[in-house]
Each structure stands twice: as C-alpha cells, then as structure tokens.
Subunit: 319 residues, 2 copies
Amino acid sequence: MAAREPVTPPVLDTAAIRRAATPELVLTAVRDALIAHAHGRTTVPPPVHLRFPDADGDCHVKAGWVTDAPDFTVKIATGFYRNPAAGLPTNHGLVCVVSARTGEIRAILDDRGLLTAWRTAAAGALATHAMARPDAATLAVFGTGEQARLQVEWLARLRPVDTVLVHGRSPERARSLCEAFDALGLHARPAAAEEAAAADMVVTTTPAAAPVLRAEHVRAGAHVTGIGTDMPHKNELPAALFARAALIATDDHQQCLDHGDFGHAVRAGATTGTSDTPLGLLLERPIERPDGAITVADLTGVGALDAALASAVLREPAP
Amino acid sequence: MAAREPVTPPVLDTAAIRRAATPELVLTAVRDALIAHAHGRTTVPPPVHLRFPDADGDCHVKAGWVTDAPDFTVKIATGFYRNPAAGLPTNHGLVCVVSARTGEIRAILDDRGLLTAWRTAAAGALATHAMARPDAATLAVFGTGEQARLQVEWLARLRPVDTVLVHGRSPERARSLCEAFDALGLHARPAAAEEAAAADMVVTTTPAAAPVLRAEHVRAGAHVTGIGTDMPHKNELPAALFARAALIATDDHQQCLDHGDFGHAVRAGATTGTSDTPLGLLLERPIERPDGAITVADLTGVGALDAALASAVLREPAP
C-alpha cells in the first residue's frame, strides 16, 4: 500500500466547535457515553497532575476512551489562580483527539473549556429529565454561574419547564441570571433556599463546602441533581436527602463514593455504599418511579464523556 | 489590568522546528536539563498509558518540567504496530508546550518524534564526550537505525572522531550507514562485534534483548554508552562490563535500576545498586578518569528533557 503522508493536525477554535456541536449532537453523544460507562465499556486511566506552587497553578491531564469508539482524547486543563489579577482567565487547556485505530492526531480542539461545560450540562439535564416525574413543572437551580445557566437551558431543551427559581448568594447575580432566562422565554425569578428546595426539580451547581439545602424542604415526588461536588472537601446535598431517596443515581460509582455527595451520605450512615444505580442504566429506557418518591442524582464528571463528545464534534462535516 | 484575549496556540511543524533547533541549542538545553535532573530540580509524574488491543496500539502521555523553567510539556506518543501494513508510520504524537507561569498553551509541536530523537542523541553524545578519554579517537556504534546515525553525528560535533566502526546485523544497512558517515566527512567502515567492542568509544543503539558485545572485548581506557535499553526485557550491555567499570553514570537512577542495563547488572550481582553517579553531575565540569579505566553510561531517557528542549525551541525567534 502506498505511504500516506502525515498531515499537521488542524486546530479547531470555539467558533468551529460551536458550529459542529449542536445540542442534539451533544445530548446524543453524552447519553451514549453514559450508557457505555454504566456497562463498563470505557477506559479512563488515572490522570496526571502537576503543581506549580510559586504561580499558584496546577495542571491535570486526563485521557478517556469509549471502548470501540474511533477516537480517544487527551485533555489538558490548567488552573492558575493568580491569572485574573493579570487580566487573564484562570483556566486554559485543550483537547487532543487521537485515532484509536492508527494513533494519528486527528485534531486539536482549542475549546476554552466549552466541551467540558457542555458535557456536564448535558449529563445533568439527561439525569434530571430521566429521573423527574413526567409532569414536574417547576425547576430550581442553586448557584448563578455558567453551569446554573446551562443546566436550565439544556433541561428546557428536553422537556417543558413552567417556572425557574434561582437561588444564589448574590441577589444581583440571581436577578441577572433570571433576566437571561426570561430572554430565552423561561419564566424565572429569584427564590430563597427553602422555596427553591421545594421545587419539582432541583439542580445544585455550586462549589459549596456545606449543604446548600435542607432535606426536609424537598417535597415528596421531587428529583434533585447535584452537579457541583467534585472534590472531597465539597458538599452540596445533605446526607438526610439520600436517606429519603427511593432511587440514587451516580455517574461513576467509585468517584461519587470517593468525592461526591453520595460518599458524604455513605460516610454519614444515611445510605449504604451499594445503594446507587449507574446513571447510564436509567437513560436506556423510561424508568418507573412512584409519584411520591424522591430521586437523587450525584454527578462528579466522567472523563470518557470528553472523548465521546470530541469524537462526535469531529465526525460532523468540516465547518 | 486590561483583559488579554486568548489566542489559538500555533502548531509548529518539523520544518519550523528544524529552523529553530540548532545543534548548539539542543545540546545546551539537554545539558542544562540533565544537570537540573541530577540535582532533583525536575518534575516528572508517572505517565498515563492506554492500550488498544484490537488495533495492536498503545498511547503514552508524559508530562515534564524543569523546576523554575518558563514552560512545561505534555507529550502524547502513540505506537500502532499494524500501521506499516496500511502504509502509515507506526508512531505518531505531538508535544504541547504550556506556560508554567499562566497555564496558557504556548504552542503545539507537531515534531513527528524529532525532538525525542534529538534529545536522546544529545544526551548520548554529551555522556560519551564527558566520560571518554580526551584522546579517544575511534568510535564504534552498534545498530544501524536513526539513533546509530544521530549518536555519531552529534558526538562528532563535540569532539574529533578519527574512525567510525559500524556493527549491525544487516551488512547492507551497516554499509549504507557508513556511506552516510563518509558523506559527512567521517571515515567509517563496517566491523565485526569483537573489533567494534574494542574501540575507544562504544555506543549501543539497538533494541537487543541480550548483550550485543562481550565485556572482555572492551579495552582498558574505553568508554561505553548504552542508549537502547529502555524496557525491562531489553539488555544491550553485559553485566560483566559494569563489574569492570571504574565509573558508571545513569541519566535517571531509578529508571536505570528498573529497566536499564544498570539494573540487569545490579540484579546479576556485578555491581551494587548505589554504584552509579547521576550523569548530570559529570557534565558540570571535566571529570578525572585514570587512563586505564573503563567507564559506562546507561541512558533510559528523561522526560524533563522534552520540556527543556521544547521550551528552548520556542524561545528562539519565530521562524
């Protein structure tokens, strides 16, 4: 066979990625990858971690592969916490997409964290949609950052949302987020924690180190998705909520046990370490849930989703 | 301070890298990095490894940093062993250069393995030059591949070489390599293993699983550098050679103990696990060696050299 000359891999910027990554594509890729992960059909080696104490920075390098997918990814993500003082973003990074058939570098996605944000939003929206009652109407979000906005926007793509309640520590940021939701045609208003916790669907998106809502404020029949807890010192959902839950989903059992809200609840004795169901299994077909049951999803982020999403973006016709 | 807009990182191809990476620049960067490594001033986390059994492929992701250097690197290297049958190179990869001050991706070096080959050649040449007698005149190389060529070329940049002896399993490849050396003005000829082992300077560059020379053929006053042994099942230099050596240098003590020729010699009882000197310490100033002493250098490859070299390439004015 004639030798094929290697070509320099293309760099896709955020504009090109936005053109290729339609919400339908992202939701499908993330759903399929969560299902593959639930069935053990993913490879996620332990990440490489470097620290730069003098610059208050660190770097994580994470690889991920959905078994039998045409590509795998290597994601480089840095956080340098003195950057804002110099007018620079805290976070930088990129995603290298590599062929799992030939090892060739297929592309470099200069995504500015976009794909990580989208796969997190898609996983949360898919979990909330699959686990909430079909007639759930009110949606509360704790937090006012990028994920607060994305979780609501992406869930609204999957099902009608009557009212959005926004709870944030900063009333100004909560009001501003409500205005953004109004501009999308969603009825949104700021709410106190107690009222927000009583919504039909509750999504928490904060970096809180102590629970942001009280279990007794969550109503029978409600669903709660926790997005923010991704390190051992973080904790958004109270252990007592897991004790009340009829169904607990985790995106990755071991990670959620190690550094998710599920792990806090297990260590507090509120539930057992085997009480969770892999989220992917709940996405395969409609689930049965009693009307009065409380359901909880704990998401810590699955590296193989990066691979699935990047691969899906590249499969689209060149922008 | 005004926000600085992030820019898409440039991709440097091999032509741009060749323009920037003069031999002087490579030798200086590698020497400095070996010295830093000898003094513990490098960070080299354990690599990430992925396997793709169905395609007979694997991927290594290695990060490296020379402490206080402006950049660190993340190197992605793949090997897919069925590629040649499809007309593709076996190996692919790239080097991401990342700022250790801000975490920004400074550049992507699409180097096709060039920088790894050069840093290996430079480290070997620096070791051989520093440890051989000043009046050593004949140089023998075992192996006929890329490193055989580069080790000779780079050593010839550092000191005069009267005669090059080439020993390879394929007489045709050995002759062809001699012609390439002749074209560079070096007097080269193929040689049997016994004659090659008796040269003033001996460099082994093979993937051999059993020693390529006999210790008794190495002459008093000679120096031997082993380049090829980089995995536990490989072994180029006989244990008895280490028993005869007055000075043993390793580029990384632990690696050479784990999977270098030094480790084979230690396990065979030919020398002790503490008999080696970090190569970097021998590059700081001229070493004292008795005329009749045999010296040996065992090199397994230091990840921080990638960072040093990539960083040096980027410091050069844009090509």
